[in-house]
Symmetry: C2
Amino acid sequence: MSKLDKATSGFYLHKITIIGVGLIGGSFALALKRAGVVATVSGWDANPENLSLANQLQIVDQHSASLADAVHGAELVMLAVPVGAMEAAAREVLPLMDRGAILTDSGSVKQCVLEAIEPLAASQGIRYVAGHPISGTERSGAGAAFAELYQGKRCILTPSAATDPDALATVQRAWQCAGSDVVLMDVQKHDRILAAISHLPHMIAYSLVNSVSSYDRYEENILDYSAGGFRDFTRIASSDPVMWRDIALTNQQSLIEMIDQFEGFLRELKNDIQQGDGKRLYEFFLRSKVTRDALIQPKVR
Amino acid sequence: MSKLDKATSGFYLHKITIIGVGLIGGSFALALKRAGVVATVSGWDANPENLSLANQLQIVDQHSASLADAVHGAELVMLAVPVGAMEAAAREVLPLMDRGAILTDSGSVKQCVLEAIEPLAASQGIRYVAGHPISGTERSGAGAAFAELYQGKRCILTPSAATDPDALATVQRAWQCAGSDVVLMDVQKHDRILAAISHLPHMIAYSLVNSVSSYDRYEENILDYSAGGFRDFTRIASSDPVMWRDIALTNQQSLIEMIDQFEGFLRELKNDIQQGDGKRLYEFFLRSKVTRDALIQPKVR
């Protein structure tokens, strides 16, 4: 029995609601529909055009006249909005949900979201599970969604002592049906690891593009000389500015810690360049190459 | 008449020699052979295994018993060795070349190479042209070479006042036959632009990988959580450490200048994160996104 068969067997949701039908929420809906584990997907979006695109693309099955309409009767509601909009979205959605239903989210930073939503949900008799799929592209909106986004990717859930075990199991199954490898993790550990492997690289990519494009010694645009390396390297600098503003604001402490650590390494490297220390430079580059090469070795799953 | 037809028409080299038959030198040979503008390619490599691989892969046509044998009778000799090995390679090769033949190179840093080789070549009656194809991958060695590497990519030549115009025209034609758009540029400008668009990103990628892989708060390897974004972003950190040591050592001044500039932008960003200044963060990310998005617009050629 395949992993997916095992996940989908006996698992069925009559209605789920996606709040924020973009890349993340839309792909979650498409993946669950492809797995055949959901009867109806409804959706809501702050941007009416994006919502009608989601309808048009059949990401969402049901036309909803209001948020209440979209949420009514859903066993699972997924908040897939920027981290900074999570609490407000939860405040709107929670009173409209059926008692005992499950609320989950896909926010890239978890401690602030968990702390904000968990007490609100509990007070409304809603079971909340905090989650974060480790995948995405630099694109956004319903048009960017696709059913395979989560295939073979990790999804981290960060339950607290108060998390309902059945609700956790349901959210875990849903992500498995979407193709994810689900990992449970302490919320602070999540935020630190993500600061390192995702938030820091984005801060660096944004800074690099701004730094190089501000180089004004020559009249022409020096970026015209950039080759594939630069374009690949800076792909993530095309990511949604609102999403990343919210991440930077809400994972402040872990992110500052990682930027400090990175600055230390860059300073060490700069010092070796200034000293003309070929031996240390070689070792620095080799250590990095060995680590990076190991990353792309195919893993046995 | 296509650009390539125009470049190849009436252009023919009886013998070229590639010193260092790796990704760059090997791909140059393959591209010229595919264009049908060279009769015989000979080669030499500090690594005998790489040379026999180049023979096996038919990058090099002729088995050469010695460097003298490889170079003898060539109209064009291409030095495609790491920047730090350029001067020594030139010292070995120049006395073996036919008087009036052309020496060129592919070094990623040009001022140091030009200053070292130009007087040596002149004293031997050899015409030297400094060049640098703006393309590459993180792979290296003869096995990584392919004929399409230079297709549609820029190649910068940095002639000096002393450069022979006919030799310059020949090298320019050869790169055009390899598929490149050739640009002529002042040598210092080349080194500054490359520091910005290529050398700085490599220093950042190497530093990022070392920084994240040194994160030791948790026992497990946090890189196991990295997704496609991190892998793409750090691809260039898999580049050859010897090549990059040499670049860092020889383009020291421009590179330090660019690292300083980048550090300033990262510091600005860190400060905005610390201040929790959402407006400035949004503007910083948006500016970067707009610049990066413009980079990938297809250009009319």
